[in-house]
Symmetry: D2
Subunit: 344 residues, 4 copies
Amino acid sequence: MKIGIINVTWYAGIELARILYRHPEAEVVSVTGRSQAGEELGNALPHLSRMDITIEPEITRSVDIVFSALPQVASAEACVPFARDGVRVVDISADFRLHDPAEYALWYGAEHPAPDLLETSVYGLTELDRDGISSAQLVANPGCYPTAALLALAPVVEKGLISDQVVVDCKSGVSGAGRGLSMTTHFSEVNENVFAYSVGGHRHLPEITQELRRIKDGYAPRVLFQPHLIPMTRGILDTIYADFVDGAFASAEEASASVTELYREYYRDEPFVKVTDKPPQTKQTWGNNDCLVYPTVDRHTRKLVVFSALDNLVKGAAGQAVQNMNLMFGLPEATGLEQLAIYP
Amino acid sequence: MKIGIINVTWYAGIELARILYRHPEAEVVSVTGRSQAGEELGNALPHLSRMDITIEPEITRSVDIVFSALPQVASAEACVPFARDGVRVVDISADFRLHDPAEYALWYGAEHPAPDLLETSVYGLTELDRDGISSAQLVANPGCYPTAALLALAPVVEKGLISDQVVVDCKSGVSGAGRGLSMTTHFSEVNENVFAYSVGGHRHLPEITQELRRIKDGYAPRVLFQPHLIPMTRGILDTIYADFVDGAFASAEEASASVTELYREYYRDEPFVKVTDKPPQTKQTWGNNDCLVYPTVDRHTRKLVVFSALDNLVKGAAGQAVQNMNLMFGLPEATGLEQLAIYP
Amino acid sequence: MKIGIINVTWYAGIELARILYRHPEAEVVSVTGRSQAGEELGNALPHLSRMDITIEPEITRSVDIVFSALPQVASAEACVPFARDGVRVVDISADFRLHDPAEYALWYGAEHPAPDLLETSVYGLTELDRDGISSAQLVANPGCYPTAALLALAPVVEKGLISDQVVVDCKSGVSGAGRGLSMTTHFSEVNENVFAYSVGGHRHLPEITQELRRIKDGYAPRVLFQPHLIPMTRGILDTIYADFVDGAFASAEEASASVTELYREYYRDEPFVKVTDKPPQTKQTWGNNDCLVYPTVDRHTRKLVVFSALDNLVKGAAGQAVQNMNLMFGLPEATGLEQLAIYP
Amino acid sequence: MKIGIINVTWYAGIELARILYRHPEAEVVSVTGRSQAGEELGNALPHLSRMDITIEPEITRSVDIVFSALPQVASAEACVPFARDGVRVVDISADFRLHDPAEYALWYGAEHPAPDLLETSVYGLTELDRDGISSAQLVANPGCYPTAALLALAPVVEKGLISDQVVVDCKSGVSGAGRGLSMTTHFSEVNENVFAYSVGGHRHLPEITQELRRIKDGYAPRVLFQPHLIPMTRGILDTIYADFVDGAFASAEEASASVTELYREYYRDEPFVKVTDKPPQTKQTWGNNDCLVYPTVDRHTRKLVVFSALDNLVKGAAGQAVQNMNLMFGLPEATGLEQLAIYP
């Protein structure tokens, strides 16, 4: 399988290169980068020096699949020609996630360059749509926050157990903001600091809402999604608060036992979603493709509280992209993704 | 004013010593520490070397006020003799915060050694009970999380604007866990990591509930309080989600304007509570006594979301203790607490 | 005393504002900033919101002293008009530190705009030149690394005890690189990382060499100065390796005792230089103006090893600038600088 | 190959388990841990939950090789029975590194329990003694600092190019101090802090000296080895300063070119030692087995300065242990160690 990576020098691209280098069925044959075109990849990124490849301005060689790690808008423009040309595409940006062009324009402040592709692109949350992804021409790889939130909520939403009011309180490491320079990613400003951002609405909100609706017909959630930046490089922890629908359970104890059982059953055969016995720690997923989910019922308020942890650059980006690629090409889903988390 | 500090070698005690060293009306005349008794304070803690004082096993000199920075249970035992002796006491531990001995026994796993003092001790959240604190013999200094949560909720609770369902999602630096060694405060385990703890119930929960009830007669909140540990030393950020009572406001816009105005009015003359225009950052309070509060109304869900940030060792512990001492001795409340936050 | 701060929005300027706000004899009457002119200072930097002042494009009001926190070259241009106008100036940049214009051009890649002022400017390492600073029109505030290195070496250099070979291995927090955005100050690149930079020659090298020569006539040191960036915000630790001249001491034991005594004597009455009993930690100086110096003699190699720690933004920048201002205006040197370090 | 890991719950043991889980020729059949015996490994260490194995008090099953991740002294006691029994052993502790029992007693404060084995144990710095390691019964895996220092110095020492005076200034992440709780590994004490430790002599010093002597007959180095603790989890950077012997090179330029060429040649075919073009960053080795070496000649002082970076838990501990195991069993040396560093 010949692979192209667009914008290999951003974090999702860097991580794709790392993972694919060890993938037994994949060969990265072309990588692009904007400011560093012409440079050896191993010069720009010394930890990738074992990969003997030069950064190019454009994907020039024939490839079976293209991954794009460009930021939104630019990514759509880069992906469209490949998609129209019959090359399979996994777009790690947000450009093909929202199926409604108006919604896209509203949240991303730009007209979508290929609204027809929004109809056929497949939202690539692997565990929730294996059939769609397998046959997709263009996969929209999910955002890191939505991946954690949707995996945390899917079991109870599908069963119709929770009301429409959902609070998703997220804590993210700084690499989620990408490699672009800004005051809020400047070390001295973010170290020894925590704060909320995108108060009033983050772009991952419509994505979460759209996909929750797809999990259960007629479910119309009202999600309050609030991200926070914390001083670490990798990792996302979502803490999700929801109310059970009336009559769902007779008592908090019953709810607790049933919910745990439901999650265990739902994710029984999943290679990368683990239902844990204790609150998950992001460090337990550092560098690997797991999403750790821990559902609980608060005995004081009877609310459902679900914790969900993952590495935003792996299951939240490049790892899931490779997981999707494996599905698209009929490979065992975990191929190239077997690495354990690195702890501590 | 002659001052004694019990357990000066723990973080709240260290911070008290730092603040009181510059307090123009205070003289620290006796400090105790368990394992380091006999040592010069400046040897045990070099940044305090300008204080020429030796750590003792017990407070031996006559003092006007004693601060205790011991852990719970031990603190009550150390404070009781002083309180009974007519020395004024500020206990930074949790031992005199809950007025109900049964509740204390439930959450702290020990019978209270002086239940009679639970009736007369005053909960020392300065802004909410200046009269009580001024004349108190024994002040129970609030926990760091409750200080942030109560200041964030007081205006809307007092006005009866929110329902009984309140979610308090907290992010805390590691110094909140104290100076005691444990695997969850071991650098390599907590660095580059985030996780929830005390899932199912944290000891600050009954304290928050008790004090919310006092703010408004008849208010019976059901609080879900969930703390998280994040890789930084100081700082707490509380993110609080609540629903307005039916009919409180006609629209999200109206709610937003009214709530902001309400908070500004409520804290207009406060020296240490600032209602901010933007989401507060804990780093903006690093080393000083401010609590930054930012109320918002989410336009998608119409929920009230309040952010509240402070330095857990200052406004969340030693700073508020000094603020209370100032009140108790008729000094201007900000005396010794004028230092700005250190940024970055 | 009316004070102007040029470029208050960079770290040294921010720190100056914080310190001067509490200085009993100083009033900050005008502050400038490039991109944020017109904004309230408290809006740009919320921790300074108690200062009721607007950022201006230029210093417009009459002032007794101007501090410049601009980067080099720009700083000289901004300072010269004030200096020529008889306003006293403390330049925190490197622009007036090197007295030789050719050396300046070599290291800073620009012709100096006012070489005549290089002759009269005074290098402001307070402890080493109080007379010069007191009467100076224009003080060149030292770099953070040179401050730590020169204070660590002055006693033995003045006594002629060490040879000309000196290795200065430095570890610095990231705020030393300023507030300008760059890949090496991007959180995810520098967190959980350590590396050397400016290999082959850092701009602080000629400054160290120039001033060591001034300490002792005829001393011609060959300094190898190697800085490293470490993942923290504030703090510098210099580890300095030197050889004693032949015959300086009969044994390592004698050297050790003599050197400790020499340092204690040399810095006996200094308010801000502390000779410590144990290896100093940068955290013991966090936010205050101390420089901690710990001289030792290695018993295996008989080398002198001196450790020197300070807060790069205080004693390494704004704090020393205020210390110099105090001297220039005949105030007690520690005025406004009494704050203890904040630990932890 | 059946493998036992003694003390799997300490960092080197944790890392061994992670690496060996993916090793195609290895099967971990028995793991021990002191306080957690009886627990599932995946319960004690959730990131290892894919390994279906229970922590035992002792290695009970028959194994081909035993790794010990115990602390010194305890490790020797645990390893000796296996070594005497004909089981091959890689001891990650320091217990079999010093060949002189008197030296061991001096530095470790205990009589060695099996001094005869000190004569036959092989120091396992893979690149420097492949023959010895291949046939060794008992391999003493090197310390993290010595690995970095010896690889940085071997080429010039072997060629006799440097004098006996060598300064090794090291910066280490906190995981090098192990998983044992202490005040200097307590998050709030070490975060935002840097300091020197083991001033006057660290236990890795005799190990470095012993092995440098072995590299070249007659070389009698006087090493000043000074470690520093910095606020990160993993990674070691050694900065090494040495003088060339008289007449080694005619000029700094010639020295620089020759030295670079010498290092490139020396490590030309090494899978895990990379001679870099730029100062190495520890983050470029995060989680993998590389040691990055960058030799330079300072043009001002003509000193040799070598930078050397590695992950203290991989090439500095568990990775090198597996590399040695591969040699001992005739496997390709890189087996199981192909993972790239994870960046950022």
